[in-house]
């Protein structure tokens, strides 16, 4: 294959795809056109909270994100794609320009999900996804005043950590009974909640958001939770999950997964053999992944296909996550909730409530399949690299050594 490769979206995954293609494409078979929606080149979105706390945006730059000096890559910023014409094999940008493609990779990512509660769009409500979002939040920060983060997942807690560091009286609202319910079990979630509370972040679990309430000036004055409690705040940040950006599918006649996302096969290819989707916008065999590591694996798989390895596929990725705030560390890896058939759990926890560690093992209690760490994540990287393998030593030793 050769010709023009059009990449729609220049996030972390789209960027990885282009880099992989350029690294592998020795003969220069592909000319690459990257169409970015944001006015800036790809940046490290994972580090957004560092920027929110005050680190310069430049520190988020990804190596080679502007493709300076690579004449085989053309990066167009502020060029959101609005339509795909598969018959003509072209995409059209918002400004009306059209770009023809021989291969098209959709890497449009996700958009924040904002729960449709009354008042969700009042002035003072924000989302937390892009550099622009962070700039708006920073402009709205008033030290000493209340801030409410809706969503106690990884992103929500990073936002809360940033708001707290900026001196706001920060609340986190989570409908599940404990924080980071996707990654943490009850014990880990409890430690996480205590550590945050100790730092002064007010955690409200088990009660979802009922409404955002306006003051006399028409902007946010408070939020009301499902249990009726009212939290005074002028700033609301929604971090209640994301939804795949698949708006281009309908107009192009491309299928989407049951929960959205461009429906692709295990090679990340749509039903159209010239169109792929990678990252958070892809529903690989129906399943979306909201983390960057699986996105990287998809990008590599597609880059390999584009450079001659026809059968390179996405073999899945483990969904490990770590949250690191000042004085607060939690991580989960592999099958954190022990859903593997016959899985057994080994847990050790300080009763003071500061440290909790769980290893999930297979039914023979010899192979590591997952785990949860809270309070101390020193062993995280080592344990993660042991996933799916026989334990090299006693769990106590693995959890202590690191």
């Amino acid at each position: 294959m050769s010709g023009v490769l059009v990449v729609v979206g220049h996030g972390m995954t789209g960027h990885r795809l282009v880099r992989e293609v350029r690294d592998r494409d020795r003969e220069g078979a592909w000319r690459v056109v990257v169409l970015a929606e944001e006015p800036v080149a790809a940046y490290d979105r994972i580090a957004l909270s560092a920027h929110a706390r005050g680190a310069p945006a430049g520190r988020l730059a990804l190596p080679g994100a502007d493709f300076a000096g690579d004449e085989r890559v053309e990066l167009r910023l502020s060029a959101p794609v609005v339509r795909i014409d598969r018959a003509a094999a072209t995409v059209r940008c918002a400004d009306g320009t059209e770009v023809g493609y021989d291969a098209l990779v959709l890497a449009t990512g996700s958009r924040p999900f904002v729960p449709p509660v009354p008042g969700h769009d009042l002035p003072g409500c924000h989302v937390y996804r892009t550099l622009e979002d962070v700039a708006a939040i920073r402009a709205a920060v008033r030290p000493g005043r209340g801030a409410v983060v809706v969503g106690g997942g990884l992103l929500g807690l990073e936002a809360a950590g940033a708001l707290d560091a900026l001196g706001m009286r920060t609340h986190v609202v989570e409908a599940a009974p404990w924080l980071m319910p996707l990654q943490m079990d009850e014990g880990g979630g409890a430690v996480l909640g205590r550590l945050l509370a100790r730092r002064g972040v007010r955690v409200h679990c088990g009660a979802g958001l009922r409404s955002v309430d306006a003051g006399a000036d028409g902007s946010v004055r408070s939020v009301t939770l499902a249990d009726g409690s009212v939290l005074g705040t002028g700033l609301v940040v929604f971090a209640a999950g994301v939804r795949p950006r698949d708006e281009l599918a309908a107009g192009a006649g491309l299928a989407t997964g049951g929960r959205g996302g461009f429906l692709v096969d295990a090679r990340c290819r749509t039903a159209d053999a010239r169109i792929w989707a990678v990252g958070e916008c892809a529903a690989v065999e129906g399943r979306c992944y909201g983390l960057v590591t699986p996105g990287y694996r998809m990008a590599e798989a597609v880059a390999r296909q584009l450079t001659g390895e026809r059968d390179a596929g996405f073999a899945g990725a483990e969904l490990s996550t770590r949250l690191k705030l000042v004085g607060i560390e939690v991580a989960s890896f592999g099958d954190a909730h022990a859903r593997t058939e016959g899985a057994v759990e080994f847990v050790r926890a300080d009763l003071g409530g500061d440290r909790y560690a769980k290893l999930v093992l297979d039914s023979s209690a010899t192979t590591l399949v997952g785990g949860v760490l809270a309070g101390d994540t020193a062993a995280y990287a080592a344990l993660r690299s042991l996933l799916g393998r026989r334990l090299p030593a006693a769990p106590d030793e693995l959890l202590t050594a690191a």
Partner: protein, 464 residues
């Protein structure tokens, strides 16, 4: 007082505690006269084995404990009606007075019947078909075949339910707590226990109380009816303290005694389920504590300097279907260790302080039970590998910490083999390995790991 070892001793009650005391008095060389007043018509028997009568594996006769030492005056069917501490004598229902130098109250405990209108008639007696389970008499005629509802959630309730199942009876366990043994087990142990009971066809109605009983059925507070041709109330016991109270002795839950098992009257002692030793935790119910107390008191009465200090409780569910033990208490523990195997309904939890067991719950882990009980009783530190301890067997570990195909950097998908290749190609530092493989250049979370691999290569232990 007369010379120790020669005093006249009267023991009121002839349950296992009294039986053990009398036997140990002989062993300790007590030479004085010993009289025992037992209100049950039969001699002492092993109460812990009652469920074996219930399930039919033992006849009532098989529970009989050995006869007391020769010379013991045993008065069976005689109830002590009053204690005259001034004249130092006990009055019996046989009209006789029994003088003592030392009196030992071993009156035990009586079943506690909850305030349920259907359980008691106007006369205060249990209604037909309703019984408690404390004595051999309670076990009689329970073989008739009707479905049984066991009310209660303590060890006796669970043991009785299982014993009746072994006998082929339909059994429903009705308990107002969230799961059986909720006073002793944490929620996850409770889940596994409940699953095991259900698998043994014990129907569980937890979080429920019985409101009415008609036509051989109990109506629960959620409106459900459960078959209950017989009802067995296993809803706890209360120390029998009326005699002590009437004699003016201090009673809290039980008869208050010091570490010599002595009441405020130095000539009157109490032991077993009726006694409340120091410590503020009420009577130390159960035969294990009773035996420890009997041992201490026998030594004291024979002239020794024994003291009763409660060994931490170790309670084993008496049911052949499952290994279930709880021991000690979590109070003061610093750390907890859990092994949970939901699929096989196995569960263990330790509470540790200074690396020693303060409390534990173990279900379905027979070998671990033996080891943990031993560590607890001896106060020894638990071994470093607590997984092996709880599994009850050594675990074979792979030994190799840095396998070649382990993914070290997930952002750049760098394996151990990739790092090894880079090392062999001349990269000798973390930065060098990073430049060669891109490891650590994503989120940076694997820097420590790469440093570890680098150090291992430098030691020459890997990367060959």
């Amino acid at each position: 007082m007369s010379t120790p070892g020669t005093e006249r001793i009267v023991v009121v009650g002839y349950g296992p505690a009294a039986h053990r005391l009398v036997e140990r008095l002989g062993r300790h060389g007590h030479r004085g006269e010993v009289t025992v007043l037992g209100d049950e018509p039969a001699g002492a028997y092993s109460r812990p084995l009652l469920t074996s009568v219930l399930d039919g594996t033992l006849t009532p006769g098989a529970l009989a404990l050995p006869a007391p030492p020769e010379g013991t005056h045993l008065r069976l069917g005689v109830t002590a009606t009053a204690v005259d501490r001034h004249r130092r004598l006990v009055r019996g229902s046989d009209g006789r007075a029994y003088p003592y130098d030392r009196l030992v109250l071993a009156t035990g405990a009586a079943p506690l019947v909850p305030d349920l209108p259907w359980a008691r008639g106007a006369d205060g007696r249990l209604t037909p078909g309703v019984r408690t389970l404390r004595t051999l008499a309670h076990c009689a005629d329970l073989g008739s075949g009707d479905p049984v509802a066991v009310v209660g959630g303590g060890p006796l309730a669970v043991e009785a339910a299982l014993a009746l199942r072994r006998r082929g009876r339909d059994v429903t366990l009705v308990h107002r707590g969230r799961y059986p043994l909720d006073r002793h087990l944490d929620a996850r142990a409770g889940e596994s226990l409940s699953a095991r009971l259900r698998a043994l066809d014990v129907a569980l109605c937890t979080g429920r109380t019985a409101e009415a009983r008609t036509g051989g059925k109990l109506r629960l507070d959620d409106g459900r009816w459960v078959a209950a041709g017989e009802v067995l109330l296993c809803t706890g016991v209360a120390p029998r303290t009326a005699l002590a109270r009437a004699a003016g002795l201090a009673v809290r839950t039980g008869v208050v005694v010091d570490d010599k098992l002595r009441t405020a009257d130095p000539r009157v002692h109490a032991l077993g389920d009726c006694a409340e030793p120091p410590g503020g935790t009420g009577p130390h119910f159960g035969h294990t504590a009773a035996w420890e107390q009997a041992e201490a008191l026998a030594g004291l009465l024979a002239g020794g300097r024994d003291r009763y200090t409660a060994a931490g409780p170790v309670v084993r569910l008496k049911a052949p279907e499952m290994d279930l033990v709880w021991l000690g208490a979590p109070d003061g523990a610093e750390e907890t260790v859990v092994f949970a195997d939901a699929a096989r309904r196995r569960y263990a939890r330790l509470w540790l302080r200074d690396g020693r067991v303060r409390g534990a719950v173990l279900l379905g882990l027979g070998r671990a039970i033996a080891a943990v009980v031993r560590l607890y009783r001896r106060g020894e530190p638990v071994p470093a590998d607590r997984l092996a301890l709880l599994l009850g067997s050594p675990v074979e570990y792979a030994g190799e910490r840095r396998p070649a195909d382990a993914v070290v950097c997930h952002c750049a998908h760098v394996t151990g083999a990739d790092l090894a290749a880079a090392w062999r190609a001349g990269a000798r530092t973390v930065a060098g390995l990073a430049a060669a493989t891109r490891a650590t250049t994503g989120c940076g979370g694997c820097v420590g790991e790469v440093r570890g691999w680098c150090a291992a290569y430098a030691r020459g232990t890997e990367a060959r």
